[in-house]
């Protein structure tokens, strides 16, 4: 019991990081962009921020900013070439990108190689993460109700129609890719500054799968789903930890059940249950369900 209390702060921190990761994954998946470079960008964000605090001695907000900006910049460069692909090809190319990042980090001795970097100052607190999540959600909200947001949804629904209506397809796609990279980079910076050490093998394929399952379990319909999925799954893993290895089995079963029976995710269940939700939940601009299957962009 005491154990649970002690790990409480840690649980909140983990939830915060996972919610950010989930949001960064959500923005690409929700726009029909099957890009799975998230762990690579997370690693870049973590390493950038750690180098800023440990080598340069930069204050934490600067490190966070760097941790978000550098991945976004690299995403813009990588996006130029990778985003010409789509579907399964885009997925595999972006997974390969993550492996390349990890492989390079493993072999650069200046950043510790396979040992990584340790004794990173612990600067992450739950409220800073909450602030960051709120900022990201607010940003997504503003983006959602803006002209660019409508362009994003138009692109999501039909690329050719969007292009023929004068939407700059390539620029908009790159924007989505970069935003995702920035958000997971931020998550990487936060996680590095609470775990106290980083090494390249934290950013493996199985981590990516975990992030994707947050989004799918929560529901792709709106950013709330991404946050909900991350909170519920992280909390559930912690809750089931006493069952030792059974929690992996339970997680798999829950994921399968969601995929098979509730394709709209937990948020879909919440939507189905609640007419009494606050309007902000029901009428989020990203939500397709909220508009009865039609989108603001088409109204």
């Amino acid at each position: 019991m005491l154990d649970v209390l002690n790990s409480h702060g840690q649980l909140l921190n983990a939830i915060g990081v996972n919610a950010l990761l989930s949001l960064g994954m959500w923005i690409t998946l929700a726009h029909n962009q099957e890009a799975f470079a998230q762990v690579g960008f997370m690693a870049l964000g973590a390493y950038t921020s750690v180098l800023l605090t440990v080598w340069v001695g930069a204050p934490f907000p600067v490190a966070l900013l760097g941790g978000a900006l550098i991945p976004a910049l690299i995403a813009a460069l990588v996006g130029v070439v990778v985003l010409r692909l789509r579907g399964i090809f885009l997925a595999i190319a972006t997974v390969a990108f993550g492996e390349v990042v990890r492989g390079i980090l493993l072999n650069v001795d200046a950043v510790g190689g396979s040992l990584g970097i340790d004794s990173i100052p612990v600067k992450t607190t739950a409220w800073k993460e909450a602030l960051a999540i709120a900022a990201v959600l607010y940003g997504l909200w503003r983006l959602g109700i803006s002209r660019t947001g409508r362009a994003l949804r138009a692109l999501r629904d039909d690329e050719h129609a969007a292009a023929s209506n004068g939407i700059a397809v390539w620029r908009t796609k790159t924007l989505v890719f970069c935003l995702g990279a920035a958000i997971v980079g931020l998550a990487g910076a936060f996680s590095a500054h609470y775990m106290n050490f980083i090494d390249p093998n934290q950013y493996v394929f199985s981590k990516l799968i975990e992030i994707v399952s947050f989004v799918v379990v929560g529901g792709l319909v709106s950013p709330w789903g991404a946050v909900l999925g991350a909170v519920v799954l992280t909390w559930l893993t912690e809750l089931l930890r006493w069952t030792q290895t059974f929690h992996v089995l339970a997680n798999g079963a829950i994921l399968l059940a969601i995929v098979l029976f509730f394709p709209a995710g937990l948020l879909g269940i919440v939507h189905a249950l609640g007419a009494r939700l606050p309007p902000a939940w029901k009428w989020h601009p990203w939500s397709r369900q909220a508009t009865g299957g039609r989108d603001h962009a088409c109204d």
Partner: protein, 296 residues
């Protein structure tokens, strides 16, 4: 020395090809990646190892491992792939759902294996096929390696025969070409898909057993090491192309053996995936893939 490396590389590459063929077969008919295959690969190896340790005949254990893999494939098809296929349009891309569903299946299979045999690496008894070293010209091969190579070759010949020469194989190729047209020609598409999934699972199980015997390391998470390699191979070979997957498997096996032999060992994954990214940009259809597939 160099011929020895070539033989080692081809032996390893053949096994990679065997594994990747399953990915590519399922991708051909369903247009999805079946990521549960790495777990089925592990399950096949683990079944065979546990049986051999309990004193079952090696050959019988091999076929039992194949049977378990096939059954797991059938279970996957019935519990995950078919229900998701039959669902009406939903908010989500059905391919993403299937991908995640197959991952969930893999996670469950892995944790069941983990709960059964624990974390430690399981090994086959010494000399499962007897110890004998053959000298063929400049090349030295022991009996185990020879048996594994012959079995790999044999399985590929069987697969080739099934896909190219039997009615079922023709049906598989027809569904891969166009599901709708195959259905119009009276092919039971659902049954063909089930057969394909089972076939690919059996091939994955066989690869698992053979790699498990050869490296003599069988454990619950062994599939994770080949999962991404398999993806690299099918992209290199061209998605949906069986000969492409075999060829690419051989190439990757050779590259790996030569990289370990002549280059720094650490950077090899980064180099392989870097080449893969470049390849996707320059020639997304791979060595033997169809034109235009990357745009669908």
């Amino acid at each position: 020395m160099i011929w020895q490396q070539v033989v080692n590389g081809l032996a390893l590459g053949g096994l990679y090809g065997l594994f990747a063929v399953g990915y590519t077969l399922v991708f051909g008919v369903l247009n999805i990646l079946n990521l549960a295959q790495a777990a089925v690969y592990m399950a096949g190896a683990l079944t065979a190892q546990q049986l051999v340790v309990r004193g079952v005949n090696v050959l019988a254990a091999f076929f039992a491992g194949l049977a378990v893999s096939g059954l797991l494939g059938l279970l996957l098809e019935w519990s995950v792939l078919r229900p998701l296929r039959q669902r009406r349009a939903s908010l989500l891309d059905p391919r993403l759902l299937t991908l995640v569903g197959s991952l969930a299946f893999a996670a469950m299979l892995e944790s069941v294996a983990f709960l059964t045999v624990g974390i430690e690496i399981r090994r086959f008894p010494e000399n499962v096929v007897g110890l004998h070293v053959y000298h063929i010209g400049p090349v030295v091969v022991d009996r185990l390696q020879l048996v594994v190579m012959l079995l790999t070759l044999g399985l590929m010949v069987v697969l080739h025969w099934v896909v190219q020469r039997t009615g079922t194989g023709r049906a598989i190729r027809a569904v891969a070409e166009s599901t709708g047209h195959a259905r119009l020609m009276g092919i039971n598409v659902s049954r063909v898909i089930a057969i394909t999934v089972v076939l690919s699972s059996v091939m994955a199980g066989a690869a698992g057993i053979l790699i498990g015997v050869q490296s003599n390391m069988v454990y619950a998470y062994m599939g994770r090491h080949i999962e991404l390699k398999g993806l690299a191979i099918i992209v290199l070979g061209g998605l949906g192309s069986v000969p492409g997957a075999v060829l690419a498997g051989l190439l990757i096996g050779l590259a790996e053996v030569f990289a370990v032999g002549y280059l720094v060992a650490g950077l090899q994954t980064a180099v392989v995936f870097g080449i893969l990214m470049m390849l996707l940009l320059v020639r997304p259809r791979g060595l033997m893939g169809l034109v235009g597939a990357e745009r669908s």
